[in-house]
């Protein structure tokens, strides 16, 4: 019977995470910008056995409302056990690669809005001396490549931030999990042709996330083989890497 906060709750992966918690009779707060979809998810989780589900409707890019959002969260839930953060967008590299306004928007959606929220939430958790933060970054942050380095560098910044935060919060008994998925078949990747064994389902990724959060893992590559793939990719010398078509 845990208390669970899900930020970016309409994400396909987040929904699967929420379902697993609902089946455990947990209490959930869902945060997202689309009220109608959040209500559908709320009803779904209630049928699946959640003890209680409440909704907070916020556009997460509006960081001037983050204080208020944080107040709301902790008003509804005195002591969250798990806080998941799943929102993000996959920008078109061709568009934002040559356009700073678009690039900045991608940084906001994939990293800065996260940091703004994490600063506020982690202060609260520090005071409570408990809780686990599980934030979805990406394997794309492990190495920049020409086909999506705006997204990749946002995720790299997010992961580095999480590393520091984990280090800081350790002394307070608060845990930070950095989730690095590979390819997932979700609406985010709807336009990409999905073939082959590298693609995972949101269900599989959600199971891995929950297990890793319970076990207080620091970094999760999901599915597991991405750890091997990224180890290889990270070890390709830059003099070779820069010539590759990736």
């Amino acid at each position: 019977m845990s208390n669970v906060v899900i930020i970016g709750a309409t994400s396909a992966v987040a929904q699967e995470v929420a379902k697993l918690h609902a089946a455990e009779r947990d209490t959930l707060i869902l945060i997202g910008r689309n009220a109608t979809r959040l209500e559908d998810i709320q009803n779904d989780l209630m049928v699946r056995g959640a003890a209680d589900v409440s909704i907070l409707v916020y556009d997460l890019l509006e960081d001037d409302k983050h204080d208020e959002l944080c107040e709301q969260i902790f008003e509804h839930m005195i002591k969250p056990d798990y806080v998941y953060m799943a929102h993000g967008v996959l920008p078109d590299q061709n568009t934002c690669g040559g356009n700073y306004v678009a690039a900045k928007a991608a940084f906001n959606a994939n990293c800065l809005s996260h940091i703004s929220l994490l600063i506020r939430i982690s202060t609260r958790l520090k005071a409570l001396q408990a809780g686990t933060l599980a934030v979805i970054s990406s394997v794309a942050g492990d190495r920049g490549r020409k086909s999506n380095y705006i997204y990749g560098s946002a995720k790299a910044m997010l992961s580095a931030y999480l590393q520091g935060l984990r280090n800081e919060l350790f002394a307070y008994g608060v845990h930070v999990l950095d989730v690095k998925p590979g390819f997932i078949d979700t609406p985010m990747t709807a336009d990409i042709e999905k073939k082959g064994a590298l693609w995972a389902t949101p269900q599989k990724v959600a199971e891995d996330i929950i297990t890793a959060a319970r076990k207080k893992k620091n970094t999760l590559y999901t599915p597991w083989f991405w750890f091997l793939i990224m180890t290889i990719i990270k070890n390709i010398p830059e003099s070779i890497f820069k010539r590759l078509n990736l």
Partner: protein, 428 residues
Amino acid sequence: MVKYEPWGRYPKAEQRAISIVDRYAMLDNDSTWLPFGNGRSYGDSCLNSDGTLVHTQYLNKYLAFDSSTGILRCESGIKFCEIIDTVLPMGWFLPVTPGTKFVTVGGAIANDVHGKNHHVDGCFGHFVVQFELLRSDGTRLICSPTENEALFKATIGGLGLTGLIVWADIQLKPVKSAYLDVETVPYASLDEFRQLSEASKENFVYTVAWVDCLARGENLGRGIFLRANHAEHQGPPQRVKKKLTVPIDFPGRSLNKYTIKAFNHLYYWNGARNAGLSKQHYDPYFYPLDGINNWNRIYGGAGFLQYQFVVPSDNYDAIREIMACIASAGAGSFLAVLKEFGEIPSLGMLSFPRKGVCLALDFPNHGKQTFELLDHLDEYVMAAGGAIYPAKDARMSRQAFQQFFPALDNFRAHVDPAFCSDFWLRVA
């Protein structure tokens, strides 16, 4: 990850697919559409090579459940396995289930699926209270036996051609446990099967037989008759078995006549030894094949064809002839299932189940010889006034389809102009 191929892995055709993101989304006009549930149909009824598949994987939410009446409102992409996990602890079960729990609610409606309880409960369609249908022109219609009745009847068993079912209200069935009281009765001939069916239909909700398709002469039709009811009490705790997976395609001919024969014999004698009463968990009872991931790969890369037909029960000669023909060809599989359908008329214009005796078995795809054999079997089914199940079909002729489904012309009027399937192009 989903691969867009039918369960029988024949025919093979590249598919374009999109996933509808939520229940408010629309279909635009630049393609023809076919809803795709979980691809558990064996042939081309779940393919749309010239157009686009609309995968319902994200329509996977429950909208409401009334645990006092057992009416579940859920989106159409939700799978039976999920529904069981959610509702069984509350004392409810699926009213009708096919032999795999990996089907979606949309797929179950679109094929008006049947189960081992057809003789008492009819088809899945009988438990559909209402649904929302999204048409390509953007209209959303509530369909039920009293509202948009014709479209309701066209969509049940409508092979995904009348529009996209977005959500549905399903009447579930109350149960007292996750177990079934099963009686296993080995029997020696088709006549015995008939007697057992007759004798069991009053007192058993579920009846079905596994048949040794290679037995001939006096033994023709011999097999194991399973009859069961939901148990009043729980059984022994279920050991969670590790799922087996068929990791690769078996070489095409590894399932030859002799391996099939050996398997069928084994199954028969194993059943004979385990005869009698037992308490079985619903999972191995209803879904014996779901324990093996990708079992459809055992037939090799060329795939296989399932042949499922029904002939009127007063015409056992037809089934005898067909079984004799299959036995002498020696091409059938270990998956032969025999069942007497009951009298309850199906609701759908194109529903397959009708009163009669129904046989289903697999044929590894050995090309021309397999197709010729099946065409030959069609002639018996047509002569007997029977029908072939579209969900399992990849090859029946236009003429056969039109004979088997006399309401076809009524049905045509309800087909969404932007919906199409490879099956539909082939038969209609």
